[in-house]
């Protein structure tokens, strides 16, 4: 600025020494500082430099006009000053416009940079705010973005109801406030919506002590639209990535589940084959003995009892497999429900096991006058058989297996308890899954891993519930609750 002032003064001095006059050749030299001022300070700078040139030369030009009137030379000189002003202002305007364009492109680049990675919205917004604050030349700036139900704010704590930002966010239109009421220099505030798809997704708010010109407001609106689109794009990309990650996780989990299921089925086939083969071998062996040998009647009876037991076992396994097949197809087990007295079913099942095994004492304790349940007797027997069989299999020899029943409001609870090793807590939730076998138990006893799954399906088909309580080394208790039959 000092250089420009010095140049203006020097040119004026030269004109004065030259004899002054409106048409002095040196007047054209004013163009240099005027254009320099326009390029340095814009339209205001160019205009002021031109005005200063006119002011400085006025004492030289005006007396001549006063003396000789408006001569051709005077008109030429005055026209030169008009051109000077025009050049100063125009150069400044063009320079300012070029500067605005450059700054706008820089801002757009900074917006893209700030939102280029997949940081959290809060981080991206803070980064964007910092980038804009450095370029918009405002005192304060805030960015507010809607993220579902919440507002993410950079540059403030909250958006008060009825505030400028809230109004723009609701109305979707820019708003300008000439005076915020601050003391001292008038403080302007401008807020413009961040638009995406014609919808306000947020607000860009700025404040400045001094003017925010119409041109600046238009530029801010454009920036708001760009920020809105960039934010929406960033959000879409982020959402897409998140969705892809989630999908990948789900596919991985499903694959692992399928692999586990596949392993379980393979194990099941092996176990089921073994389980089927054992009674078949017994039936085959004993039937061959009966066919080819003559045995005393007592021995024949014993062998026939063994064969009957193994045939029942075989039948049970086949029934379980059929039920499981129905369960896996999403069907409920086929039931033929009639009023059933629980006590007699329990007694019959317990008697059956007492005859078949001498290793575990089995007690049956039923409350008197239990309500009748509406159940399929065969299904109920299979439920009890599965539970008692499990209790015997997974508890040490000599330990007692307790079977009991008690009345509940609207139903009957059947409990089968053992004093076995128990089930680890982390396996409890999975014991009703088909093919699942508690890892420790797999080596302790034979089993297909479908018994409890069938129990659960059968009980639930009756409208009942089943739950397992267990503690390691304390035993396991399975409680089946069946609804009582409605009284006719």
């Amino acid at each position: 600025m000092t250089l420009i002032a010095a140049a203006l003064a020097a040119i004026t001095t030269v004109i004065a020494l030259d004899g002054g006059g409106a048409a002095s050749l040196f007047r054209h030299a004013y163009l240099v500082p005027v254009v320099a001022a326009a390029l340095r300070f814009g339209a205001v700078g160019g205009g002021l430099a031109a005005a200063a040139a006119v002011l400085l030369s006025a004492p030289l030009v005006l007396p001549e006009i006063e003396r000789s009137g408006v001569t051709t030379e005077a008109i030429e000189g005055l026209a030169s000053f008009a051109v000077l002003g025009l050049v100063g202002v125009l150069s400044g305007v063009l320079k300012a416009r070029a500067g605005h364009h450059r700054r706008r492109y820089e801002i757009l680049v900074s917006i893209q940079r700030a939102l280029s990675d997949e940081a959290a919205l809060e981080v991206s917004l803070a980064r964007l705010r910092a980038a804009l604050a450095g370029r918009l030349r405002v005192d304060e700036i805030a960015l507010i973005v809607r993220d579902d139900e919440r507002l993410v704010i950079a540059g403030g704590e909250r958006v008060a109801a009825g505030s400028l930002a809230a109004r723009v966010l609701e109305g979707g239109r820019s708003a300008f406030v000439c005076d915020t009421g601050a003391r001292g220099r008038p403080r302007r505030a401008f807020a413009t919506p961040l638009l995406s798809g014609g919808r306000a997704v947020g607000v860009l708010a700025v404040e400045r002590s001094g003017d925010i010109s119409t041109g600046e407001r238009a530029a801010l609106e454009t920036i708001g639209a760009h920020v809105g689109v960039a934010l929406e794009n960033a959000r879409l990309v982020s959402r897409q990535r998140r969705f892809a990650d989630e999908l990948q996780d789900r596919v991985g989990a499903a694959r692992r589940e399928l692999e586990e299921l596949d392993r379980a089925k393979s194990a099941f086939v092996a176990i089921a084959s073994h389980e089927l083969r054992t009674p078949l071998t017994a039936l085959q062996g004993f039937s061959e003995i009966l066919a080819v040998r003559r045995l005393p009647p007592e021995e024949v009876t014993r062998l026939a009892q063994v064969m009957r037991r193994e045939a029942r076992r075989l039948g049970r396994i086949v029934s379980d497999l059929l039920d499981l097949s129905r369960i896996e197809r999403g069907l409920e087990p086929a039931l033929c429900r009639i009023p059933v007295k629980i006590e007699s079913t329990i007694e019959a099942t317990v008697d059956l096991f007492r005859q078949g095994t001498a290793s575990h004492p089995i007690t049956a304790e039923c409350e008197s006058a239990l309500p009748v349940v509406d159940a399929d007797p065969d299904a109920l027997e299979r439920v009890l058989t599965n539970l008692v069989s499990n209790a015997i299999k997974y508890s040490p020899s000599g330990s007692t297996v307790r079977v009991g029943a008690r009345a509940l409001a609207g139903g009957v609870a059947i409990e089968v308890a053992d004093a076995g090793r128990g089930i680890p807590a982390d396996a409890l939730s999975r014991v009703f899954e088909p093919y699942y076998r508690v890892p420790d138990a797999a080596g302790a006893a034979h089993g297909t891993g479908i018994g409890l799954a069938v129990v659960k399906a059968l009980v639930e088909a009756h409208g009942g519930t089943v739950r397992v309580e267990s503690a390691p080394a304390m035993g396991t208790r399975v409680t089946v609750v069946l609804p009582s039959a409605p009284r006719s």
Partner: protein
């Protein structure tokens, strides 16, 4: 941040709100009566100037003080001091020193923080004062040079007592009242509702108009054109000084220097 924290209520204040109309009417009636009395020779002729200064400058100053929410009593005191100073000045040239009284009264109000909204009493940097002085000096030099070359006047210091008396009037009445009203009050209010350019144009136009209707301004076309040119320039510069520095002091300095230079001009 205001745009986020505060409710955005529309500001309904009018541009001329809080104008002390009653006081202005009293001043106008007083001036009219006084002039009538001068007309019928019940008052001496120089009473017209006393009344003119008191009513004219007093109206500007009272309005500025009222817009700054200063009590009416303070405005009345300022008007009274202006009247006393004008009277003292009319009686004898050294009486113009009494114009320091209104300036001191305004300074006292500013020191008490009552004139912050006018830009008085707020801190001002030496750089701002120097810029004001530079602007005033530049304009003064330009006036002295161009006026002495074109308007048939020249710098004359042979009437020093009159010059000092006029400068005292400028310090305590003319510049003080004009800067307080046209910049401190009018420009500041206009700037709160319009951009700088419009606010400065409104305040400067009113400022120029005030001098054009001043009976003391010579009515020759050259002088009127010169007055419009320099006063418009001075007004615009002072608006910028106030907006930039947030203080009225640089503008007061610049205007005082300009008017001091103007007072040194006399016919060739």
């Amino acid at each position: 941040m205001w745009a986020l924290d505060q409710p955005c209520a529309p500001r309904a204040e009018r541009l001329l709100a809080d104008t002390p109309l009653a006081l202005l009417v009293v001043l106008a009636v007083g001036a009219a009566v006084a002039m009538l009395l001068v007309e019928v020779s019940m008052l001496p002729a120089h009473a017209v100037r006393v009344v003119g200064v008191t009513a004219g400058q007093g109206a500007l100053l009272a309005t500025a003080l009222a817009w700054a929410s200063v009590s009416p009593a303070s405005s009345v005191v300022a008007i009274a001091l202006l009247g006393l100073a004008a009277t003292a000045s009319a009686v004898a040239a050294p009486g113009a020193a009494a114009y320091l009284a209104p300036a001191l009264w305004i300074s006292w109000l500013a020191a008490r923080g009552q004139l912050d909204s006018l830009g008085l009493g707020t801190p001002v940097s030496l750089r701002a004062v120097a810029t004001g002085a530079l602007a005033g000096a530049g304009l003064s030099i330009h006036l002295l040079v161009s006026a002495s070359r074109t308007l048939g006047v020249q710098v004359r210091v042979d009437h020093a007592s009159e010059i000092l008396s006029a400068i005292a009037y400028d310090v305590g009445a003319n510049v003080l009242a004009a800067e307080c009203f046209f910049r401190g009050a009018l420009f500041n209010r206009a700037a709160r509702r319009w951009p700088f350019a419009i606010a400065a144009t409104v305040a400067t136009a009113a400022y120029v108009l005030r001098y054009l209707v001043d009976p003391l301004l010579p009515k020759s076309p050259e002088l009127v054109a010169g007055a419009v040119f320099y006063l418009a320039l001075l007004g615009a510069i002072n608006c910028w000084l106030l907006a930039w520095s947030q203080s009225l002091v640089p503008g007061v300095v610049s205007a005082t220097l300009f008017f001091a230079a103007y007072r040194t001009l006399g016919p060739r």
